[in-house]
C-alpha cells in the first residue's frame, strides 16, 4: 500500500467513528498534533494545581479543605493520565517536562492569573472547570483511543470540580456583604480568562481544520465559547452577581448571549509568557523538578541494584 492508500484507509476509519489505537497506522502529522495537544493539556492540569494548591492551608472549614485538596489531587491525576496518553504516541515524560519548563510548550493561559482570595476557589471551580468540561466532553469523542479514554475518565471527575465551585459561589453570593463583595471581585477577574480558554476565534485558529478532519476536535472554538457563555450568564445573574462585560446582551433571534469584544492583546501576551504569573508558575515547576532530581536518581539506583534490570 502506498502512503496515499494508508491515508485514505485511515481517514475512512475515522469517518466510520473508529478509534485509532497504538499499533495502528497513522499519519505523522496526526501523531504530531496529538502529542502537542495532549501534552499541552497535561501541562495545563499540572500548572493548574498551583493557583488552587496555595489556598488549601487557608480553607475556612474542614469540608472545604478536604474538597479543595481532593480537587487538586485529581488534577495531578489528570496530568498523569494525559502524559501517559501522549507517551503511547512516542513522546517521553522527560521531553514533555523539558518542553514545559523551557517555555517551548504551551499550557492553558488561564492558569497564569493569580488566585487572590478564597472566593477565587469557588469561581475557578465553576468557571474554569465548567469551561474545561465543555471542551472535555467534546474530546471524549476524539478518534485516538488512549486520549479518548483518558478524557472519559477525566470528565467523570471534572463534574465534581465544577459543582463544588458552583456550590461555593452560591453560598458566598447569599452570605455577608464582605463575602458577596469577595465573590464579585473574583468573578470580575476570572470571567474573561475563562472565556479566552476556548482559544482564538475560529478564523485565527490555524490548527483547527486538521484537528477537525481527523476527529480530534468536533466543535470549533467559537461554538464551545458560545455554549459556555449561554450556560453561565443566566445563572450568574440569578445569584444577584454581575459579569464584567458591559456589552453582554441577549439576542432573541438566536437565543444566544452575545459577549463583548475579547482583549486579544492580553490573550497573546499571556500565551507568549508575559502574564501576571507565568514566570512564577514555571519557576515553581522548575524548582520541584530540580529539587526532585536526587530523589529520582535514588529510585533509579535502587531499582538497578535490586532488580538487576535496566530502568528505561
Amino acid at each position: 500500500m502506498t502512503e496515499a492508500d494508508h491515508l485514505a484507509a485511515f481517514e475512512a476509519r475515522i469517518s466510520r467513528g473508529e478509534k485509532i489505537e497504538p499499533g495502528d497506522w497513522m499519519p505523522d502529522e496526526y501523531r504530531r498534533q496529538l502529542i502537542r495537544m495532549i501534552s499541552q493539556h497535561a501541562h495545563s492540569e499540572i500548572v493548574g494545581m498551583l493557583p488552587e494548591g496555595e489556598w488549601i492551608t487557608r480553607a475556612p472549614n474542614l469540608r472545604r479543605k478536604m474538597v479543595l485538596l481532593a480537587k487538586v489531587q485529581d488534577e495531578a491525576g489528570h496530568g498523569q493520565y494525559l502524559y501517559h496518553a501522549a507517551e503511547t504516541l512516542g513522546a517521553t515524560r522527560e521531553e514533555m517536562i523539558e518542553a514545559l519548563l523551557s517555555g517551548k510548550a504551551k499550557y492553558a493561559q488561564v492558569f497564569n492569573y493569580p488566585s487572590l482570595s478564597w472566593a477565587d476557589m469557588g469561581v475557578i471551580g465553576w468557571f474554569v472547570d465548567g469551561a474545561a468540561i465543555l471542551n472535555q466532553t467534546m474530546l471524549a469523542h476524539c478518534s485516538y483511543g488512549p486520549y479518548s479514554r483518558a478524557m472519559i475518565r477525566i470528565s467523570a471527575e471534572e463534574s465534581f470540580h465544577m459543582k463544588q465551585g458552583k456550590e461555593q459561589v452560591i453560598v458566598l453570593s447569599q452570605g455577608t456583604e464582605a463575602q458577596k463583595a469577595m465573590v464579585q471581585d473574583a468573578i470580575n477577574r476570572w470571567w474573561w480568562p475563562s472565556v479566552m480558554m476556548f482559544g482564538p476565534h475560529d478564523q485565527d485558529s490555524p490548527n483547527s481544520p486538521a484537528l477537525i478532519k481527523w476527529g480530534i476536535k468536533t466543535k470549533t472554538n467559537d461554538e464551545l465559547r458560545q455554549d459556555f457563555v449561554n450556560q453561565m450568564t443566566p445563572e450568574v445573574f440569578e445569584l444577584g452577581l454581575r459579569l464584567p462585560d458591559p456589552d453582554l446582551r441577549y439576542d432573541e433571534a438566536s437565543g444566544n448571549w452575545i459577549h463583548g469584544p475579547i482583549d486579544w492583546d492580553e490573550f497573546w501576551r499571556v500565551v507568549k509568557g508575559d502574564g501576571p504569573c507565568n514566570a512564577e508558575r514555571i519557576a515553581a515547576r522548575t524548582k520541584a523538578h530540580e529539587d526532585g532530581l536526587w530523589v529520582r536518581q535514588a529510585l533509579e539506583a535502587y531499582s538497578l541494584r535490586e532488580t538487576g534490570a535496566v530502568a528505561a
Binding site: 476509519r13 478509534k19 495502528d24 501517559h84 453560598v171 533509579e300 530502568a311
Partner: protein, 181 residues
C-alpha cells in the same frame, strides 16, 4: 547512568470493580519496581469506589495486536515453537469506545502463538485490540489487603459530584425570590 529520568518502566494497570467483574485496563503508571507499580496504580487509579483488585503488567510484557494491524500485516511470526506451553491471560478491546477487558486464559508456547490463539478464540467476529500477557508477568494485589488498599477510596464521598446539591440550592433561591416578588 542516573539521569533522574522519569521515563521509568511503564506498567499497564487493570482494576476489578467487584469479585464477579473482569479486570479492565484503567491506564498506565511509571514505576521502578513491582511494589511501587502497585502503590502508584492504587494512588492514581483508585480514588473512588469500587475496586477489589489491581493488576500491573510491565508494558514490555504485553504483546499487542490490533484489528487494523492484523488486516495490514497478518499475524506476527512465531519464533519459539519449542518452548514449554505457559498460561497467557487475554485482554480484549471489543468496542471502539471501550477499554481492554480480561476475557480469559490460553496456553501457548510463545507470545506470537498466544496472539494467534487469542484472535482465534476471542472476538474474532469483532475484536479491535488483543493483548496477551504471560500469567507470571502479572503483579497482583493480595485479597487480604483489600481494606488497607481500597477503603480510603470508599471513605471520601465528597469526591463524587452527587455530594453537591447545586440544583437544589438554585431552585430554593428561585423559590425565595418568587415569594419575595
Amino acid at each position: 547512568m542516573t539521569s533522574g529520568d522519569t521515563q521509568w518502566p511503564r506498567y499497564q494497570v487493570f482494576h476489578q470493580e467487584g469479585p464477579d467483574r473482569p479486570h479492565v485496563n484503567s491506564g498506565s503508571v511509571h514505576a521502578t519496581d513491582e511494589e511501587m507499580a502497585l502503590q502508584n496504580a492504587r494512588d492514581v487509579f483508585v480514588r473512588r469506589p469500587d475496586c477489589v483488585s489491581l493488576w500491573a503488567v510491565l508494558a514490555t510484557d504485553i504483546h499487542s495486536l490490533t484489528a487494523e494491524e492484523l488486516e495490514r500485516e497478518g499475524l506476527p511470526e512465531s519464533k519459539n515453537e519449542d518452548g514449554d506451553a505457559q498460561t497467557y491471560q487475554v485482554f480484549l478491546k471489543k468496542t471502539h469506545s471501550g477499554s481492554h477487558g480480561h476475557v480469559g486464559a490460553i496456553q501457548a508456547t510463545s507470545p506470537a502463538a498466544a496472539l494467534a490463539a487469542a484472535v482465534a478464540n476471542y472476538g474474532s467476529q469483532g475484536g479491535i485490540v488483543w493483548w496477551v500477557v504471560s500469567d507470571t508477568s502479572i503483579v497482583r494485589t493480595d485479597p487480604g489487603e483489600i481494606d488497607s488498599l481500597f477503603q480510603s477510596a470508599m471513605s471520601k464521598p465528597y469526591r463524587s459530584q452527587s455530594f453537591y446539591h447545586t440544583v437544589t440550592l438554585m431552585r430554593r433561591l428561585r423559590e425565595k425570590k418568587g415569594i419575595r416578588e
